[in-house]
């Protein structure tokens, strides 16, 4: 099943299971969704539960907050994460704070779904990765699924959770196929990292789409350099399963973090800080970060190609962490 279909399955199952679940977003109904995630749901559930909205991001999210406070469980789709900046006030000052600010009286069981990512030549305003902006905010849960199975399991968990969830999909993953457990109760817990590939030489943490790039890089490290990399996909950034990462680093003594977004104050910086502080004695080399370039994403293909991470940079970073420069080297 494709990542896109896994998300649709999660929505369909949860909508069947719970009448309080409804969808709101731009072109999610008649158009079927900009990335076709919600295709067919209008036909099945009707206009009461699948609602096309005007282009009013801040208000769509804010309505989701209000509806959630009053007992519904809205799932709001923002067409892409690039437009979430317009809804940032409702997400931070309202959705994230209301439960605490009102002394626990109100709950905001809201899910805000949106895809991020570069690689399609969408240029500076349409290629953002903003995990870092959301993981910064207490009160939010943040998911960054990289596989179809996690996409379905995490989305179902998100819809059932009583906290506001920022659910970050990736434009490049919608078409990717993967095994998905055939069960209405396939739930993936938040705060549980996934060891995508076991290894003993170096720990590579890949966030969102980069979890897959990291796995391909790990295969190259093995075949071309005889290096056994362990690849960890945190799957959620709030809560964060730091323990699994620390256990791996305790074993490998080396760590590379891969993110697609901007390096300054990015998710990579957050993870690098945590690992450097808490695995200080285990680290044989500085944590290496591989990130998107520190600039607005250019449209032109050759520039875009070098502006976000690929296998080669991850392999290099891993070899540097291992203290081996160049190719065909072995662990020193």
């Amino acid at each position: 099943m494709r990542y896109r279909e896994a998300l649709r399955e999660a929505l369909r199952e949860e909508m069947r299971r719970d009448e309080r679940v409804l969808l709101m977003g731009e072109d999610i109904g008649v158009f079927g969704g900009a990335f076709k995630v919600t295709d067919g749901l209008l036909a099945e559930f009707g206009e009461r539960r699948v609602r096309d909205t005007p282009i009013s991001e801040n208000t769509i999210v804010g309505m989701g907050v209000g509806a959630a406070m009053c007992g519904l469980r809205p799932v709001v789709e923002l067409m892409t994460i690039n437009f979430s900046l317009l809804a940032f006030d409702q997400i931070v000052n309202h959705a994230a704070h209301i439960h605490y600010m009102f002394g626990g009286q109100a709950r905001v069981p809201l899910v805000v779904r949106m895809p991020q990512g570069a690689g399609h030549q969408l240029g500076p305003t349409h290629s953002h990765c903003f995990e870092a902006l959301f993981l910064h905010v207490p009160g939010l849960l943040v998911a960054v699924p990289s596989t179809a199975a996690d996409a379905k399991g995490l989305l179902k968990s998100a819809i059932r959770d009583d906290n506001p969830v920022i659910f970050i999909e990736h434009e490049s993953l919608y078409g990717v196929r993967g095994e998905v457990p055939d069960s209405d109760e396939h739930l993936v817990e938040f705060g549980r990292a996934h060891i995508a590939r076991a290894g003993s030489d170096v720990t590579i943490v890949g966030v969102s789409r980069m979890a897959l790039t990291a796995q391909r890089a790990a295969a190259l490290l093995e075949s071309e350099h005889g290096v056994h990399a362990e690849v960890i996909d945190p799957r959620t950034l709030r809560p964060l399963d730091l323990d699994t990462i620390l256990e791996s680093v305790a074993k490998t003594n080396r760590c590379v973090i891969v993110e697609e977004g901007w390096p300054h104050g990015g998710v990579g910086a957050n993870l690098a800080a945590l690992v450097s502080e808490q695995a200080f004695d285990e680290l044989d080399a500085p944590v290496r970060r591989v990130s998107g370039a520190d600039l607005p994403m250019p449209y032109s293909k050759p520039l875009e190609d070098i502006a976000y991470p690929h296998e080669a940079q991850i392999v290099d970073a891993a070899l540097q962490a291992l203290g081996v420069a160049g190719a065909a080297a072995h662990r020193s």
Binding site: G66, C70, G71, S157, G191
Partner: protein, 386 residues
């Protein structure tokens, strides 16, 4: 503009309500006034911190509009909302304790003056971001419709809030989706220090919804009868037609925007002129002249208000401050379906990670109303056979 949306004036405004009702309105207006005067004193005595926005002068707008609602309707307000909590029935003790930052406060001292809240009484807050409450009100109205009740939501905000992007976005969505919301602009003539004509190209605020086909009404926010009459029409229209109305309540803020306001933006004379129309003595006089209340009744009403405020202060003073170890309570709802460590900042001196086994411990008082609504909604679900 639909007939139902015609301003009321004369006809109803002159009609006085039942004596008990009239007394209750005056008592509540007086309570709000005395409560806020005292809050101002407590602020001067540093019992209250942060910002304190008083609605002194706006009591007729608050009581006249809230009394047009029934208990199951939602009320959504701003950072100037002590009166809205009180008019909804939140005990003055809990409001004052919130201002004092005590555990006895309606939000346990977490929100303070700008973030009052009382879910059980369907007072939906208390929001510090100008214009931020409009989408939330529309969401509440959506929930009412979705769960097939005929409840409405009254959303009040200031003249300055009309210039925030959410105003146009929310009115359009409410009109398009036919949501049962009464949007009430509490036009107190200023957005902080900026006079209406200096912040809004359209100074006839009831017309601000015209472009979106949202009918406008206006009431004299200094007259509790007119305010009530117009809001009753607005609420009835919205409840029946399931589509929004915009009401402008024309009033005035007697005090500064907040406690620290030199008020260089208006003259003492202007304030004095408006104070002559003080809604409380005006309504009191009217009731006395109509023989509804005697001079003694009026004195008694004021004395009662004073007593309740004294009691509120005493309660607030006696209420304990939150214990340090409650700092992290209710950042997240922890009895949900998810596990995992919510905060991993062991390097953060303040923080305490929440291990999986502690989950479910966190309290969430007041949330009891939600399960009720949920089961309603679920029942619908069963009908729908899903």
């Amino acid at each position: 503009m639909s007939a139902a949306a015609e301003p009321a004036r004369r006809e109803d405004a002159s009609r006085l309500p039942e004596p008990d009702t009239a007394r209750e309105w005056l008592s509540t207006m007086t309570l709000i006034r005395r409560f806020e005067e005292r809050a101002g004193e407590m602020y001067a005595r540093a019992k209250i911190g942060g910002f304190l926005h008083l609605s002194i002068g706006e009591e007729a707008t608050i009581v006249g509009s809230a009394r047009a609602l029934r208990a199951s309707d939602y009320l959504v307000s701003t950072y100037r909302s002590h009166g809205h909590a009180l008019v909804r029935g939140t005990p003055p003790e809990k409001v004052m304790a919130e201002l004092f930052g005590r555990t006895g406060g309606c939000c346990g001292g977490r929100g303070g003056s700008m973030h009052m809240f009382d879910l059980q009484r369907r007072f939906l807050g208390g929001y510090g971001i100008v214009g931020g409450n409009l989408p939330i009100a529309a969401g509440a109205a959506l929930a009412s419709d979705y769960t097939q009740t005929d409840d409405v939501t009254l959303c009040t905000f200031g003249d300055g809030a009309c210039n925030q992007g959410t105003f146009g976005e929310t009115l359009n969505l409410a009109a398009l989706w036919r949501l049962p919301v009464v949007f009430m602009v509490t036009n107190n003539q200023f957005g902080m220090g900026t006079a209406l004509r200096r912040h809004s190209a359209q100074t006839d605020l009831r017309r601000r919804g015209e472009s979106l086909g949202v009918p406008g009404m206006r009431c004299d926010g200094m007259d509790v009868l007119d305010t009530h009459a117009v809001l009753c029409r607005a609420v009835a229209h919205v409840r029946r037609e399931r589509s929004p109305v915009l009401v402008e309540a024309v009033t005035y803020r007697f005090r500064g925007h907040s406690m620290a306001d030199p008020e260089q933006y208006r003259t003492k004379e202007e304030v004095a002129r408006w104070r002559e129309r003080d809604p409380i003595p005006a309504f009191a006089r009217r009731l006395r002249e109509a023989g509804v209340l005697t001079e003694r009744d009026l004195e008694q009403i004021d004395a009662e208000a004073m007593q309740r405020v004294d009691a509120a202060v005493a309660f607030a003073d006696a209420s304990p401050f939150p214990a340090p170890d409650t700092l992290y309570d209710d950042v997240y709802v922890l009895e949900g379906a998810l596990s995992g460590t919510y905060s991993v900042m062991t390097t953060d001196p303040g923080a305490h990670p929440v291990p999986a086994d502690e989950r479910g411990a966190a309290s969430s008082d007041g949330a009891d109303e939600i399960p009720q609504q949920m089961s309603d909604a679920l029942a619908l679900g069963e009908e729908a056979g899903t």
